[in-house]
Amino acid sequence: MSEPTFEEAQRELEQIVHRLESGEVPLDEALRLWERGEQLYKLCRDRLERAEGKIEELATRVEATREKP
């Protein structure tokens, strides 16, 4: 499975929580969901923490791209 986008991860996480909180989920399924949910939570946090605020100028970026062989 390819990495979900932040939005996809967040949406899936919230759907999992909803399922866990509302339905009678069998144990195996609950554990599987929990594991997936933790993974998604971590993924979302990582995305936010890994990203460093960055402001670039397009002109500079285009120059830099041109300089590459």
Binding site: T5, F6, E7, Q10, L13, E14, I16, V17, R19, L20, E21, E24, V25, P26, L27, A30, L31, L33, W34, G37, E38, Y41, C44, R45, R47, L48, E49, A51, E52, G53, K54, I55, E56, E57, L58, A59, R61, V62
Partner: protein
């Protein structure tokens, strides 16, 4: 006479820029001329007005205006001194009711509007070197969502080159792989300053842009046509910034709430299963005793039935069993007179001899 013409020219030069509406006739355009000439005719009373427009500007609009087209011309009355001819010097030109025309094409339709990404990988910002709009967008983005990545593309935001330059900038930003939303921000200005943002080519480029576009052009009361074509329109540059990035604090809270919910939900599922297991275990523990009890009662039942079937009870009521030659005697003919028979009673019995048979 030259002084007279100059005087009239300077007097005319004090008149404000105006919009004039009419039908194009006698359009004259030649590559070696610096200007394009045409006559605007009022379809109502056939009044005419000579118009000239710098050729570069006219061509840049790429409107394919031809004789008979109804147009709006934005310009300044002036006197061509050398010949004493009065005309309108056009600064811009648009098809009559361009907005209605584009709306009829469906360019502004609500179903065309795309949702903005809730967390763009990179935000493209198209802005002038006009410090205020750029600063407002950047500072709001950084305050609200520090991890945001912004690619700033400065361009002309007023004057004859603006529309074309904004279009090129949009295209350049779209070529950047991570840009998934674009903000076009331009601070307030005069009606004339904002004209490029109603330019048909720019409006079409915004509608056709592969990446969602948010516009914040001019002040609240201005409605350049590009605002109508954009996926979202903001009243100010900082409002545009709020539309393109989430509030980090809120986002983190929401994530943490989801995680708490995740743990609570899983624990609940675990508890439920554990209780179910405990109940099962308890029932299992009670099983042997239950089996013994059930065996007992089955035994009792069988014994009762056995007792009911035994002849003892019948004998107890005064009946007797008579046997001869180890066979139960059921009829008088079964025995001979003088034959010995055994009589069994509820308590003990005795031997006897048959006197007679009947």
């Amino acid at each position: 006479m030259g002084a007279f013409n100059r005087g009239i020219a300077s007097w005319l030069g004090r008149l404000p820029t105006v919009w004039v509406e009419g039908e194009v006739t006698e359009l004259r355009r030649q590559a070696r001329w610096a200007s394009v000439f045409f006559t605007l005719k009022d379809p109502g009373d056939s009044a005419c007005l000579a118009v000239s427009m710098p050729r570069g500007q006219f061509d840049a609009l790429r409107l394919d205006v031809a004789d008979g087209d109804r147009v709006h011309v934005y310009g300044r009355p002036e006197l061509f001194e050398a010949r004493g001819e009065f005309r309108l010097r056009a600064l811009s030109l648009e098809r009559f009711r361009l907005g209605d025309h584009l709306a009829a094409e469906g360019l502004f339709a609500a179903e065309r509007k795309r949702p903005l990404p809730s967390l763009p990988r990179q935000i493209g910002l198209v802005t002038g070197n006009d410090a205020a709009a750029k600063r407002d967008v950047l500072s709001t983005i950084q305050a609200r969502f520090p991890p945001a990545s912004v690619l700033v593309a400065e361009t002309y935001v007023q004057g004859p080159r603006a529309a074309g330059s904004v279009i090129e900038t949009l295209a350049a930003l779209c070529r950047q792989p991570d840009v998934d939303v674009i903000v076009v921000a331009r601070g307030g200005g005069s009606f004339e300053d904002l004209l490029p943002f109603s330019d048909e080519r720019l409006v079409r480029a915004i509608a056709a842009c592969p990446v969602p576009v948010v516009t914040a052009v001019g002040h609240e009361q201005d409605t350049p046509l590009c605002d109508l074509a954009a996926d979202a329109r903001a009243s100010t540059p900082s409002v545009a910034a709020r539309l393109v990035v989430p509030d980090l604090t809120e986002l983190l809270q929401r994530l943490d709430r989801a995680r708490t919910g995740l743990e609570r939900g899983t624990r609940r599922a675990l508890d439920r299963e554990r209780q179910k297991l405990d109940r099962m275990h308890e029932r299992l523990g009670r099983a042997p005793q239950l089996l013994v009890e059930r065996g007992h009662s089955r035994l009792e039942h069988a014994a009762g039935r056995l007792r009911a079937l035994s002849p003892k009870a019948t004998l107890a009521r005064g009946y007797a069993i008579v046997r001869a030659r180890d066979e139960i005697v059921r009829a008088g003919g079964d025995v001979e007179p003088g034959e010995r028979v055994e009589v069994e009673l509820a308590e003990g019995g005795f031997g006897a001899r048959v006197e007679e048979t009947r």
